[in-house]
Symmetry: C2
Subunit: 244 residues, 2 copies
């Protein structure tokens, strides 16, 4: 049975400040747990229905790591509208900012958790291992980001840094997703499989400060009337072009 | 002042069956209203704060079309967590299924309203005017779709049809977004600016039934480990390739 204190601690992790303080985050659902169990991340505790434990006991080396809960208890600790079998508490990895040699992404002020999660998943699809975010981007360990990333968060490192400083020190080319008037992505053929793709907030685009540091400014040509593309969709189109 | 009956009618439109019956839908927020006012859609009524009316009176030909409401009343009829100045009731256009000559999209079982809205916006960006959906796709006039489409819904026609029958009768090439093992999108150079891009549900992909009708099966090459791409992101990457 879950104690009131346990419930309180788990629920507190739905807030960023408590995740920062404890270094822990919440991860929910059978599908994402499967990815978590096969990742290098350290799991602190797993709260699961009996059905999940029976099916997954073979993957759990340490019997003390899981605790059986009832559906009602799962509801009490879950942030999902329909809790799904299992919830885990895992340790937020401490990532050192690496030297970038291949492809990576820089994000400025991407505040929507769904967008950030989708971008992490796209990065994983295209084989990127690092994303650099300004501090005002959504928190990668927010439960909505964890869900939207579909497990890719356990393979892609998300760094929060002074993006301007990071880009200034970067030795690979920096490609800005910019507005019309810049180079046409369809005509640019000079990607060499390395560099940082820099994506801005979809309402405001990239700040002049960040744009100025970028070596190449490119835009996705528009054939119709929509004012803009969703930031995650734009990231997908750019990375696909860069991997061609 | 809004009557109880008015509030009841407006709120009823948050359900698909009531939208179907009345032929009306709800549209919220200053930004989307701006697009609605500049579209060909027929507006039935606008409920707005005084601030919005003062600013937009010049665009409203008919004084009877709007009604001033208080912030509290707007909260009562809004589906947004933070209601934004104005809410309109507009008429769902009746679109005849056109003959496809250029580029269009076919969607099978895209149930997530956010994904459908984002796909409508991408279609608008790439200059498409028609999307064909199976009946089990999200309803295009669901408020979440309306919000996510950012006004593109007023320029792109969304048809609900028997997709299999529609594709069978189509004279343009049909391109399926398929799995690895099909042709590589990066190597395919034979798009001729016309055809139907057919996208499936992201958990299950396209059904064999639909895949069998398609002329060309293509996949987005994967360089990393993510299991799949979000359906809207895949649509963006495909359309960008088809417009190259």
């Amino acid at each position: 049975m879950l104690s009131k204190q346990q419930i309180k601690i788990i629920r507190s992790l739905h807030l960023k400040k408590n995740r920062k303080q404890s270094g822990l985050f919440v991860c929910e659902g059978a599908k994402i747990l499967h990815e978590l169990l096969h990742s290098s991340l350290q799991i602190n505790k797993i709260y699961a229905l009996n059905s999940w434990i029976t099916e997954n006991r073979q993957f759990l080396s340490d019997e003390n790591i899981f605790q059986q809960v009832t559906e009602k208890e799962l509801e009490q600790i879950s942030e999902l509208s329909t809790p799904n079998e299992v919830l885990a508490i895992a340790v937020i990895p401490e990532n050192k900012i690496p030297e970038i040699k291949g492809l990576s992404i820089g994000l400025e002020s991407i505040r929507d958790p769904g967008n950030l999660g989708t971008i992490i998943r796209i990065a994983d699809w295209y084989g990127l291992t690092d994303i650099f975010c300004t501090e005002d981007c959504a928190d990668a360990y927010n439960s909505k980001v964890v869900q939207a990333s579909m497990g890719s968060l356990f393979r892609v490192r998300v760094h929060y840094a002074d993006l301007k400083e990071f880009l200034s020190n970067c030795t690979v080319p920096k490609y800005a997703a910019a507005l019309e008037g810049s180079l046409n992505l369809h005509e640019y053929k000079d990607f060499k499989g390395r560099g940082v793709l820099v994506i801005g907030n979809e309402s405001n685009g990239l700040s002049t400060e960040i744009l100025d540091i970028c070596d190449v400014k490119l835009h996705i040509p528009r054939f119709g009337q929509a004012e803009s593309l969703n930031a995650a969709v734009a990231t997908g189109i750019f990375l696909d072009a860069m991997r061609r």
